[in-house]
Amino acid sequence: MSLPLVMPTSTGHAPVAPFLRFSTLWIQITGTWCNLECAHCINASGPKEPWLKPLHAEVARAAIREAEELGVKEIYFTGGEPFLHGDILALLALAIQTAPTTVLTNGTLIDAAMADELAALAASAPYSLEIRVSLDDTDREKNDRIRGAGAFDKAIDAIGSLHERGLLPIVTATEITSREHSDGRGMYERFRDFLKARGIEKPRVKIMPVFALGRLARPGGAVLSEDDLEGFDRGTLQCSEARVVADGGVYACPILAGLPGARLSEGGLEASFRDASLYHASCVTCFQTGMTCKNG
């Protein structure tokens, strides 16, 4: 199975980001297995033949236990769609007793029963549970053109269900359709107003740039050089303090999880605590935008 991504063949001369501290554990729990097939998905996830396999629950459990020993600050679950994983609730229950935990989801599998489970989990835990629901536009047609028919309504239902149970979902949007609006408002304000109009009194919104990756990958993208990084604080890049456990080992960042060039260890977390190569075209986006995949 080939990787549907632009992948340089060599990482030998790329600049590196130093490993400063271990703060964030990402768990790529479902690999690229997803019930949606979004046009801009950074790892080309979808319902058929995931190129990156889901993780066995025991691999995730071992990573959480090792991360606790190493003093992890926060844990994130991503995919694919994490709620497709049969053990997701048990894994969240373990993670949330260890550290504040976030799940990145498209929201389509969060029905009332799942929202009840998540609310019970959040109430019983010492740490905060954050649910990040992806939505790319406040307009149904524009959103579903990117994310697939029916995705908008299901995500809105999930946001409402979580809100009703006292969870405060973080709505995460990419800038993929931002140029299609001409009302003068920025995306951030538009999403906040949209959520408030639906009775969400504490709207939480995170805007992400679009990466030329996955289904948007184009050959020949520029990569970083040492000259580009002169005077730049590489400690601000998330690969200086985050590690991702995915099928095949431990990787430098969630965007590049599964790519051999970003793999830092084939075993444990601690073995991955070394410089990360900034070899990929997507490293340019992190460098230029200062973005982080974290909540804040």
Binding site: R21, E68, E69, L70, G71, V72, K73, E74, T98, A99, P100, A122, P126, Y127, S128, L129, E130, G166, L167, L168, G186, Y188, R192, E201, K202, R204, T292, G296
Partner: protein
Amino acid sequence: MQERIAEYRRIAVFGGVYNNALALHATLEDARRRDVEAVFCLGDMGGFGPHPDRVFPLLKGSGVLAIQGNYDESLAQGKTDCGCGYTDPRDNHFARISYEYTFANTSAENKQWLGALPAHRRIRLGAHRVLMCHGSPRVINEFLWESATPTGLLRRFVREAETDVLLCTHTGIKWHRALPTGGHAVNVGVIGRPENDGSTNVWYTILTAGPDLAVEFVPVHYDFETLARQMDQEGLPPEFSETVRTGWWTTCLENLPSKERSRGKF
């Protein structure tokens, strides 16, 4: 050369003065009445409130032993940003207004004083080794919220810093956790703005040595109406004075973890 570590039995500690000279005065008076041997401040003298230069005579005159917060570092180094560590556009909007006002109204002499403050302090409270920092021992603006700070991380902090007690501030909401391994982590709170619980008072902390460490959070009531009026007169955003008058945060709250955010009004 070995650093000389001062030893105490009972101290007062606060963070985040945020230009609130009225609360600072009330806090110092209260601490004096409670028989403490020394008063410590964990940084962020500026931001949010009115008339930044009014807090410095109180801090200096009362012999407060301070460390540097991110705000102090930014002011001293002439940075264009407060370095609070916000990522949300709305948080950054209000943080910018607050910083530009404070920067313009803090004297060169006081900026220099801030620049001379240490990043950390170590003391002993009886048998307990204590490390004071602003955000965390590793990063000056790291947010250590109660619901977002794992015990495993705190264990690592105290082990690596070779301390028994870790004191921090920066978030604006106090908490205390006794660690299973025997140490303590205390976020001492701030005296510059209320705690997002609908009460107008602010909080500081008294620590007393003993067989175990005694941690007491002390509420401070002050003339918040006068402060709010001064903020309005200075042209600071009405959202700021609303917080002072109501005890609910209206700005710089997008980075709150969900448990802390749920407890607030906004």
